[in-house]
């Protein structure tokens, strides 16, 4: 047997039956490894051991003869004598306090949490109570720490759970988590919004209670397929993908909306591979289904497309009609304007010219030569303005005239133009070399005007040549046919080439070569209206070449 850890050796000679009980008690109290006190029925301390003196901070003498009540904290002290008396009447070995937290008051005024065991011993001198006091400060501290740890753990678990909940709820997919009984534990926000349900309405309820048989299609296999898929997951503990199903959703107005879903059910396994939860994930494929025509939908799709196209065609034809109407109105306005110009602008000019002539005729003899010359200048000015107005009107008329496109024998057309211009050839030596001209598609009257203007220009600007040379031809260039007129006339400065085709733009002085500056503008306008281009090449005193195309129209002949 192990020796007790205190200083006094066991008194072997006193192990006799006549050893007085109080001595034995003293000895035993000292032997207890905890603090212990002996007290009498009145609550006076008879003896204290070394451990109790250390725990309570009192010396042996300070304790002995004093009431135990003094060791009870003041707030409990008044009740203590009653407890004591009650114990003395029914003395037995038991813990003191009946579940109350007990505290001992130390000499320095501090309190320590304690557990106290009470043991009654009958002696000749009366009842002696052995009180064993255990300091439980460490245990209390450990308990508190444990509680704090537990609370912290609990909080962290709650936080983590909430976070997981938030994760699940925020997942972009459509998820619900089911128990093996198919009760809904959690749902993602996307799922709620797609199914038009609220979390509190469905959580805790059975899936098949929340989403009963498809109401619009009684014969739908959706529900039974879902049920069998979930059972498959439960039995095999493996993920199961379901075919796309139609399941209509009742919207907030109480009406059903046609919806198509692609569901996948996956198990969440516990430690022993049992299915703890099922994650039911669905993808809303309504848009995909509706845009992907099945064979039977083809006709309907065609119908929709045709209707759409018809609507678009109708809208654009309406637009075209409206623009045509506006164009017609604009053309009418322009016609009225030209008509008015041709009448009203000419009348005053006629008066200027007519009365100048009248003056010259009636009073000419009375006028000095200079006066008659002035009258002549007035008349020339008026007449020139008349010509300008006429040319401008021609230009405007050609611009808005409807194109009457037909195949044109260019050779014939140019021949006719040259015949018309033959008066200009009188008394001149002009060599006109006409190559074979490719036929064209175009408006004969307008193209005749083009040739007329270009050829009369060529004749005009070769007037000072002793022998004028004019070449006419056509050549294919890419997919275009290029027509050209080359002359050996005055030519022009290429620096001003861009001014050639402007209205009223002239590169020559009127006294050198007459003209209004409208001819080439007309040429350009007509060529452009045919979708072609016109350009010129020249050098001062070395002639000019004019080219024009009519788009790719020659290909169509």
């Amino acid at each position: 047997m192990k020796a007790f850890p205190h200083q006094e050796p066991f008194p072997e000679n006193r192990l006799a039956s006549n050893w007085p009980i109080d001595e034995i008690l003293h000895f035993l109290v000292e032997a207890i490894p905890n603090a212990a006190l002996l007290a009498n029925e009145e609550g006076l301390i008879l003896h204290s051991n070394k451990e109790s003196e250390r725990l309570l901070g009192y010396s042996h003498d300070e304790l002995k003869g004093n009431p135990v009540d003094a060791l009870v904290p003041e707030r409990f002290r008044s009740q203590h004598p009653a407890f004591r008396k009650s114990y003395a009447r029914n003395a037995e070995s038991r813990p003191m306090g009946h579940g109350r937290d007990l505290f001992a008051l130390r000499k320095d005024g501090s309190e320590i949490p304690v557990e106290i065991g009470l043991n009654p011993v009958q002696t000749a001198a009366g009842l002696v109570i052995v009180a064993v006091i255990v300091d439980i400060s460490e245990r209390k501290r450990a308990e508190e720490a444990m509680q704090a740890l537990n609370a912290d753990l609990e909080r962290r678990v709650q936080e983590r759970t909430a976070m997981l909940q938030t994760f699940l709820e925020s997942l972009p997919g459509l998820y619900i988590v089911l128990t093996p009984d198919f009760d809904i534990v959690a749902a993602s926000n996307a799922y709620l919004s797609a199914t038009m349900t609220k979390r509190k309405e469905i959580t805790g309820r059975n899936l098949f209670e929340v989403f009963p048989d498809n109401p619009t299609e009684g014969g739908s296999k959706a529900t039974s397929e879902l049920r069998s898929s979930l059972h498959h997951v439960l039995q095999n503990a493996e993920t199961h993908t379901m075919p796309i199903v139609r399941y209509d959703i009742r919207n907030l107005d109480g009406e059903f909306e046609e919806r198509y879903w692609s569901p996948i059910n996956s198990p969440v396994l516990g430690g022993s591979r049992e299915v703890r939860y099922i994650i039911h994930r669905v993808e809303d494929v309504t848009a995909f289904i509706k845009e992907t025509p099945s064979a039977t939908d083809d006709a309907r799709l065609d119908q929709i497309l045709r209707e759409r196209m018809e609507a678009e065609i109708f809208a654009s034809s309406r637009k075209v009609q409206e623009m045509n109407r506006q164009l017609e109105a604009a053309n009418k306005e322009l016609e009225a304007f030209s008509y008015s110009v041709s009448h009203d602008l000419r009348a005053p000019l006629r008066a200027i010219d007519g009365f100048s002539l009248a003056v010259a005729e009636d009073y000419g003899p009375l006028l000095p030569d200079e006066g008659r010359r002035y009258l002549q200048i007035i008349r020339e000015g008026a007449q020139r303005m008349g010509t300008l107005i006429d040319d401008l009107l021609t230009f405007s008329r050609l611009s808005r005239r409807q194109l009457e496109v037909a195949p044109i024998e260019m050779n014939h057309l140019v021949h006719d133009v040259l015949t018309e211009l033959s008066p200009l050839l009188e008394g001149r030596s002009v060599d006109i070399q006409q190559g074979d001209l490719h036929p064209a598609l175009g408006d004969a009257a307008l193209l005749k005007q083009v040739w007329l203007n270009l050829l009369s220009n060529a004749l005009k600007y070769t007037r000072r040549r002793d022998s004028a040379l004019i070449e006419i031809g056509s050549a294919s260039q890419g997919d275009e046919m290029v027509y050209f007129i080359r002359d050996n006339g005055t030519g022009f400065d290429m620096r001003y080439a861009d001014k050639l085709f402007g209205v009223f733009q002239r590169l020559h002085r009127a006294e050198d070569f007459e003209g209004t500056g409208v001819g080439l503008a007309i040429v350009q306008r007509v060529v452009h209206r045919h979708g072609g281009r016109v350009w010129a090449d020249g050098k001062v005193d070395h002639g000019a070449t004019f080219y024009f195309t009519l788009g790719a129209t020659h290909e169509q002949i």
């Binding site: 030209s338 008509y339 041709s342 009448h343 009203d344 000419r346 009348a347 005053p348 000019l349 006629r350 008066a351 010219d353 007519g354 009365f355 002539l357 009248a358 008026a382 007449q383 303005m385 008349g386 010509t387 006429d390 009107l393 008329r397």
Partner: protein, 150 residues
């Protein structure tokens, strides 16, 4: 019947300067003997058909020729032309249309309505005067207008 009552030419012209120049040209050609002038379409119609349009007058005394400007106030030249050519009493009177317009649509319309000649009044007055002279001679002197004998 008094010779002065005979109207050889009805000139319908609103522009006073054009009117004066036309008269001058006619006078120079000695064609200005008996000319009735109307300054707008309504006046021309009133002269030809009476104010109420029911005039029972005969046309023995002319006009033997009508020179008609197209652009007229009130009733325009085309309408006057149409009325002349639609009425059996006047439809045989030659009508020479005088106009500043070279617009093809006018020319076509005038001939469609039965105009006998068409003179574009050019800015160059000499050209106009000679055209008036030539046409005047032609219709008044060379061409025998049908006479309606009452």
């Amino acid at each position: 019947m008094n010779k002065s009552e005979i109207v050889e030419l009805l000139l319908v012209e609103d522009n006073p300067q054009d009117l004066e120049l036309t008269l001058r040209a006619l006078k120079k050609a000695n064609l200005a003997n008996s000319i009735k002038i109307a300054r707008d379409g309504a006046e021309a119609l009133a002269f030809l058909f009476g104010e109420d349009g029911q005039d029972k007058r005969t046309y023995e005394n002319g006009p033997r020729i009508i020179m008609l400007d197209l652009k007229l106030p009130k009733v325009d030249g085309l309408e006057v032309l149409q009325r002349i050519k639609a009425d059996p009493r006047t439809q045989s009177i030659p009508v020479v249309v005088l106009t500043s317009s070279k617009e093809q649509i006018d020319v076509t319309e005038c001939y469609k309505l039965g105009a006998n000649s068409y003179i574009v009044k050019p800015v160059d007055f000499e050209g106009f005067a000679s055209a008036v002279r030539d046409l005047g001679f032609y219709w008044l002197l060379l061409n025998q207008a049908p006479r309606i004998v009452g």
